[in-house]
Amino acid sequence: MALTPDEVVRLAGLARIELTAEETAMLAPQLDVILDAVATVSEVATDDVPPTSHALPLVNAFRADRVRPSMPAAEALAMAPRAEQSRFRVPRILDEGAQ
């Protein structure tokens, strides 16, 4: 199935990546070729095969509920593009978020 430039733009939006028109034009056919090549997986992935999400069958790895030292705020904020009042300063938010 062909991936249109419009669809690439939609996906880039979902992935929060600004693409130039040239990038979009280049990506669409490239992704198409890759998707074509990988599509064979659905041929062998029959209903009787269970999916594997983790390489090994480990279960129940838990951490004890103990408090460990946190980082000093100054260290947490040291690499922030902008900080103010011990907080990370971010540009105005348009969306209200998903939660």
Partner: protein, 524 residues
Amino acid sequence: MSEPQSPRTSMTDAVTTGGAEILTSSATDLVAAMEAGQVSSVEITQACLDRIEAVDRQVHAFLTVDAERALRQAREVDSRRAAGQRLGPLAGVPLAVKDLFCYQGMVTTAASRMLAGWVSPYTSTVVQRCVDAGMVILGKTNLDEFAMGSSTETSAFGPTHNPWDLERIPGGSGGGSAAALAAFQAPLALGTDTGGSIRLPAALTGTVGVKPTYGGTSRYGVIAMASSLDQPGPCARTVADAALLHQVIAGYDPMDQTSIPRDVPPVVEACRQIDLAGMRLGVVTGLSGQGYAPGVTQRFEEAVAALRGAGAEVIEVSCPHFEHALGAYYLIQPAEVSSNLARYDAMRYGLRLDDDGEHSAEQVMAASRGAGFGAEAKRRIILGTYALSSGYYDAYYGSAQKVRTLISRDFEAAWATCDALISPTTPTTAFRIGERTDDPLAMYQADLCTIPANLAGIATGSFPAGLAPEDGLPVGLQVMAPVLCDDRVYRVGAALEAQLEAAWGGPLLASIPPLGAAAKEDVR
């Protein structure tokens, strides 16, 4: 065999500065020499730093070198040794670290513009274990951006050059670590392997690289590419050195809940057992033939003969689903990438563009990510976003996870008939820089042989198998062993090394063309 005529001579030529013996020595020998008081960690470290200074303009293996910190660590180990303290088996040995491992106080970039200049406030478990073992951290090595690539060409800071032929790629993603070893800039290095990022560069640079069993080494503090596949591992010039580093870094870490709460397999001991009597090896029939360079096939077959010579029984094993491994990998890996790389959103750290009061957070995120990620990263993020998006999940991601099951079953069936599987590490030798950059699919083909092991989480490694006659470039042999049987990988690797070095009259790297003054001007 058209192997090196007089390896010792050419190796000496390769080193134009002082300390030639130091630079070409194995870590094992360096530790023995330090223990005997013949050389200090400071001298070894200084020799490596000098060598980096001398040749890295050509090789570009390193992104960051911290000479001062390295020498401070070296001095400390020397004084502890002088005071008669008991030290670990690699104390005082310099280490090059792939720039995917966080190391407190050192710039950590993942070779991305996104993280240029980011100083990590914490240290990954694996690097911490190396530091605790008294190893000396030289600096950070180059890689494909966020480890996404098979050639180290997608690095935002320029490609690494293969020390065997500076116009060629060193493999990827961990090309910097492998090149640093082949260029004698460091005796040991750390890598990570998601689809072959340790083994592929090892094969293409004539060095040793092992991907431990998934969960055998901690991923904590290692910048994630594809979480269910990533695994840190050792890179070295000899099998025994790799095992020593493996022993230092491996083992359960409560900070990584996918790490296995079990003892580390006896990898160091396995290297001493150089005969393979009683061991049955399976040659994967599908990983050969069309698409494999003649020199690769030839050296692989010779290596199989050498393994027979070491006492192994060799049979053929068919793994029918391996042909779908590449497809499954290039769905699962981009899917996880698309999620793992979401955090680089310009809010808390990293590149931020267009923060002018006009643009919203959403716009700043998109602009920063658009500018901060390179073409391959964007390609994979968008591919992964697609594979996970509603309506396509079952056909792509879901199916890929089923193929993962089928591949594991192929391995399980193989273990019923043999102790380990072998194949070429990669279908071809190192290609030229730029040769495949416009053809992602051709690039992905380099991972054909290495990917099944990642999907199944098993232990695997690549070992030098000689130089392809047609181009004189290194060929690697891949060993794959069951989960937590990492020792078998080393046992086979050590036996192969012993057999082949006896035939060659020395290590493969002894025949690497010299780097240095003569070549300095015409490259880079």
